[in-house]
């Protein structure tokens, strides 16, 4: 089996599994209680919060809100500030994850002003264009750190600087779910006010994430209940999940240089071999564009992505056609559409993503698999 879909989810890191084990076994406490069983769970939770605050540049541990995943963090990161104290506007891009775009659409339905700033043919947004779209009603600007389909890195720090120049009261949110695996990510590093991270994209368990923010930003909660997380996110904490996530993020940060080297080598070998074996293969992103080291996005003209993916699956190769969030059917990507790609070409695009378990030779194997998958097709 060759797993080339790490951007969808990646195997759990042993550090995460080890950290979680006590909380899946004897330590079952609800951290919101007052007895010793709860206290031990609460201590684990707050220890994880402190470590994550440190990793992601939050000034205070309480600037970390644990959530049920990246999607929820995006919902809270965009709707939270926009709905706190009114119905204020959002500026974002058409290549964001659906968790941001659908939240923006939802807010528009509530009467919030929503602006979508166009991207270029590589999916990059122009910081000045974002700043120019900010109006008096705007509260949140949301621009992803790196795209989940193409891996293209956005100029988030420049966006934040351009926005703040004239609009110091606007907050900038960034979804760093994909970037966290291979790039330095933090509030200060990116110059943003709110940051979404997710556990399972870096080797933690699924169903847990965090929104990290600068102190003093009001969030209107989107999940109501018992008032956990200072009322910003109700619901009994998934202690095992949270502890596992933080252990995974720590491990990913510690492993980052090796990751970049190994995955970079694997991708280089793959793309070089693919270009040699299939000369008409088209890589979506130009060479000089900054993109995540783990993403390779391409198409083989005349070969539908569905056909290619099924043939790869038959050969034991797991890959995808972009985002994997729907009913299992491939959807023509809104990201590629926003980049101006014709639907017929977009329907041929395939995404290979490498990850922490990738070996350098996997790049060669991936190219070989492509050659086998295309055999007899053209």
């Amino acid at each position: 089996m060759l797993y080339l879909d790490h951007a969808a989810t990646t195997p759990m890191r042993p550090e995460a599994r080890a950290a979680m084990a006590p909380y899946l076994n004897g330590e079952f406490g609800n951290p919101s209680g007052m007895h010793a069983v709860s206290r031990r769970a609460k201590d684990a939770l707050e220890d994880a919060r402190e470590r994550l605050a440190h990793l992601l540049g939050a000034a205070h541990p309480l600037d970390v809100v644990f959530t049920g995943g990246g999607t929820e963090s995006d919902n809270l990161g965009v709707a939270g500030p926009a709905l706190a104290g009114g119905r204020r506007g959002v500026v974002t891009t058409p290549v964001e994850h659906a968790a941001v775009l659908d939240t923006a659409r939802f807010l528009a339905g509530l009467g919030c002003a929503v602006e979508i700033v166009a991207v270029d043919d590589q999916g990059r947004v122009d910081p000045e264009a974002v700043a120019a779209s900010v109006g008096p009603a705007t509260r949140v600007v949301s621009v992803m750190t790196a795209n989940n389909e193409t891996g293209v890195v956005q100029p988030v720090a420049q966006v934040a600087a351009a926005v703040r120049k004239d609009h110091p009261n606007v907050v900038v949110h960034s979804d760093a779910v994909q970037a966290l695996a291979s790039r330095p990510v933090g509030l200060g590093t990116l110059g943003v006010d709110l940051l979404t991270v997710a556990s399972h994209k870096v080797g933690g368990p699924t169903g847990v994430g965090a929104l990290v923010l600068r102190g003093g930003i009001d969030l209107e909660p989107i999940i109501h209940g018992g008032g956990q997380e200072l009322g910003r996110r109700s619901g009994t904490h998934d202690v095992a999940g949270i502890v596992g996530m933080v252990a995974a993020i720590e491990a990913a940060v510690a492993d980052r240089d090796r990751f970049v080297n190994d995955v970079g080598e694997a991708r280089k070998r793959f793309e070089t071999a693919l270009a040699a074996a299939i000369p008409d293969a088209v890589f979506t992103i130009d060479d000089e564009v900054d993109r995540l080291v783990q993403h390779s996005h391409f198409r083989v003209p005349g070969v539908d992505a569905e056909t290619l993916l099924i043939r790869l699956d038959t050969l034991g190769v797991a890959a995808s056609a972009g985002s994997a969030c729907h009913s299992g059917a491939r959807e023509v990507s809104h990201v590629l559409g926003a980049m101006g790609m014709a639907p017929a070409a977009a329907a041929e695009c395939v995404r290979f993503t490498f990850g922490w378990t990738t070996r350098r030779g996997d790049g060669d194997d991936a190219a070989d698999a492509m050659a086998s998958a295309l055999e007899g097709l053209r």
């Binding site: 539908d304 569905e306 056909t307 043939r311 699956d313 038959t314 009913s327 299992g328 491939r330 023509v332």
Partner: protein, 353 residues
């Protein structure tokens, strides 16, 4: 043998897939996503719903075969839905299942099967394919009440050589028994009667998607006297009795639809009878036309019995002359020619002749 099975999430295609697995074939299951709501998701009511796809997926898991949902929305919309609207706007009564079989299931999906390295495509239709030593033949299914050969009449030798219809040998009751024996969750599943792309009333669908279908006009009797008005000819089918909206003593039926003048003509039951009809776009399963004047039996609707007739080649079209006049011969529906259990071919009814 590597085979692609089209799984709708119904009991027939579930058992078809199981039969192919039992034979020792390498089987891939697929569900076609043909239609979705404005939010891009599968519909939740009617046919081809999320629940249907999930049923197919669960059956595939039970059988231990890989399963995929394939996106055929664009193809389906262009080949089937647009055709459906155009036909109604022209005063005809289309059969979208036939268009889907022609262009999508046994068109694009058959090509896909080849692309995936499959030797054939398997469906759960109640019809049979055999080979008489010289040619493939398409035959009615063993279960008379469930026979679906009518909607497969457009298949030719190339298609029949690449498909398998294992359910055609079974009665519906036997299919359900087999599904239950295998523990498939679709064993008792009710059959869907709806069009997969029309949630409820097809007239409402037409009004929304083809607004020009809402063109009011007169309802006239056979003498030309205006007896009422209607909200659009697309709401009518030749032979229709209910919902005409004209109250006159004896039952009245739609006997004619003229889209050009938006006129609906009504008459008595006896006025529906036609002795002959013109059929266009005729194809023959064998690839060889039957001799002009051949005695055949003809089905003019999915759920009607085959009526004896003769079939005449008139150059750019065929004429079917019924031995006994037939009612409810609706332009746009298929006329399918049989000899006994064998489907000879068919085409689209153009008009009474």
């Amino acid at each position: 043998m590597k085979l692609l099975v089209a799984m709708s999430g119904g009991v027939d295609s579930s058992v078809a897939a199981a039969a192919m697995v039992a034979e020792g074939n390498q089987v891939i299951g697929v569900t076609l996503k043909q239609w979705s709501g404005p939010d891009g998701r599968l519909p939740t009511a009617g046919c081809c719903t999320v629940a249907d796809a999930e049923d197919a997926r669960r059956v595939a898991a039970t059988l231990g075969i890989p399963y995929y949902v394939l996106d055929y929305r664009e193809k389906f919309s262009a080949a089937v839905v647009d055709h459906f609207g155009r036909e109604y706007l022209s005063g005809r009564t289309p059969n979208p299942c036939i268009e889907c079989n022609r262009r999508v299931r046994f068109g694009a999906l058959l090509d896909r099967a080849a692309e995936l390295g499959c030797a054939g495509l398997v469906t759960g239709h109640h019809a049979r394919v055999d080979h008489d030593g010289a040619r493939f033949r398409l035959l009615r299914g063993r279960d008379d009440a469930k026979d679906q050969s009518y909607v497969l009449h457009m298949l030719g030798q190339a298609e029949l050589g690449s498909i398998r219809l294992p359910i055609g040998e079974m009665t519906k009751a036997a299919v359900r028994t087999e599904a239950a024996r295998l523990g498939l969750r679709t064993a008792d599943k009710a059959e869907s009667q709806d069009l997969c792309f029309v949630g409820g009333d097809y007239r409402e669908f037409l009004r929304q998607r083809f607004p020009e279908s809402a063109r009011p006009g007169p309802i006239v009797d056979l003498e030309g006297a205006v007896v009422g008005t209607h909200a659009g000819t697309a709401g009518f089918t030749v032979g229709q009795r209910r919902g005409i909206g004209v109250a006159v003593g004896e039952p009245r039926f739609v006997v004619g639809i003229d889209a050009a003048t938006a006129t609906i003509t009504i008459g008595r039951r006896g006025d529906l009878a036609v002795a002959a009809c013109r059929v266009r776009g005729v194809t023959f399963v064998s690839g060889v036309p039957v001799p002009s004047g051949a005695e055949v039996s003809v089905k003019v609707r999915y759920r009607s019995s085959a009526a004896p007739a003769t079939l005449w080649d008139e150059g750019d079209h065929h004429v079917v002359r019924f031995v006994d006049p037939q009612t409810a011969v609706a332009p746009g529906q298929a006329a399918v020619f049989y000899r006994g259990d064998e489907v000879l071919g068919g085409g689209t009814i153009a008009e009474a002749a």
